[in-house]
Symmetry: D2
Subunit: 132 residues, 4 copies
């Protein structure tokens, strides 16, 4: 059997892949970023073990990406920052999507096993964003 921490990380990955591929390609402009952010967060929060999702679509990046007169572009990972918190059987996983080398990288920020604090499976690095 996989450990609870591994199951929690698997669940965290599912949420990220779901959010990205459900909404990538959505027409977006600076005037529709707020409603899209809200829908993305609330829809993924419906999924099991998903406690919180924060999506920030960068208006400035959206504006820069609009390269034709129609005034909109399509949502891609480079236009947004995403943070999620997943909880599974006492384990809390924080994840984020950040740009790295011009590529949106989904990554684990920390995995905290409430039942085994300080174990090799846990992490409380001060660098972790408490708001994630």
């Amino acid at each position: 059997m996989a450990t609870d921490a591994q199951q929690a990380c698997f669940e965290a990955g599912i949420k990220f892949g779901s959010l990205y591929h459900q909404f990538a390609g959505t027409p977006v402009s600076p005037s529709s970023t707020r409603s899209l952010e809200a829908a993305m967060a609330e829809s993924i929060e419906n999924q099991p073990h998903c406690e919180a999702v924060d999506v920030s679509i960068r208006d400035d990046r959206v504006a820069d990406a609009i390269d034709h007169e129609n005034g909109y572009t399509e949502l891609t990972g480079s236009l947004m920052d995403v943070r999620m918190r997943i909880a599974y059987e006492g384990v809390t996983v924080r994840t984020r999507m950040a740009m790295k080398d011009g590529y949106p990288l989904m990554e684990l920020v920390e995995v905290v096993d409430g039942d085994r604090s300080g174990s090799g499976d846990a992490d409380s690095s001060p660098g972790a964003d408490p708001n994630a």
Copy 2:
């Protein structure tokens, strides 16, 4: 060349296919219907010639469609009513998606050619919904 009315109907179809296939499959529950409706309407309104999009996701249908303990379902045509108004070169096209024989049917409600009122290409059937 296609007529302006034909071009307007082609544009109307693009918006409907886009809205449906971009958002079908999105996790949805009665608590996330409003934000999803807003994002769907605002994102498609970004597309060329799209003047208005109205999406109504039926909370009662969503609740009925939730068939497992996780408390959410996936968006499909049977859970929502959609109306759109497209304008192209003086032609206004009204469309809607309504359930027919248990299948969500996308249909033209009316095609009004402002430049050729009363022509064979136009329609002002009283049945058309002025709010569409």
Copy 3:
């Protein structure tokens, strides 16, 4: 009521919007273009009144779009050429997606009303691609 030619154009637009927004964002590399082309064409051909869909994902454009070491990119309109033939009540509509000013434009190639050849609703411009 809308004319058969207008209904045919509406159906043609639905197919294009569906194809684009169902598959935009799909991970693609030169090694997976053929299978994606086939799936896109066969899935959309399932839709009503859709007689033929031809999708050509350009391997060279895909290779050029791969901007990170992971060796793949996401499908967008700029990487493919699409042609479709829709038939509705005796009217045949040919459409295509082509790049215009760096933007993938979906357009009507011709609308041929078999019942009213030569009418204002029909077009047999020699410029139209018979393979479309």
Copy 4:
């Protein structure tokens, strides 16, 4: 820091969420299942650390799901079986999607840490499908 096994499980989840939400909603009929299976597998195999993806869309379930005269339905988790193998830093993760209580459940089949055989993070349950 998360362990390699946790990172591997996170990557496995990303692939599953991506596959599901990229392709859910795709029009499918018994005549287009093979091409869709191939495209789904090959596209997701492009993603980092994804060694193998096997998608089996059940023709019989697709046929049963076609509830209207148009002769096709939309892809959902209940119509397919999926297995994946992810490899990350010496850890191999096998996952599958199977129906449970009428709901398509994505689950970890096994997590094998080649560097720490027999550790609490590893699993070689005979029930695991070697073809996964």
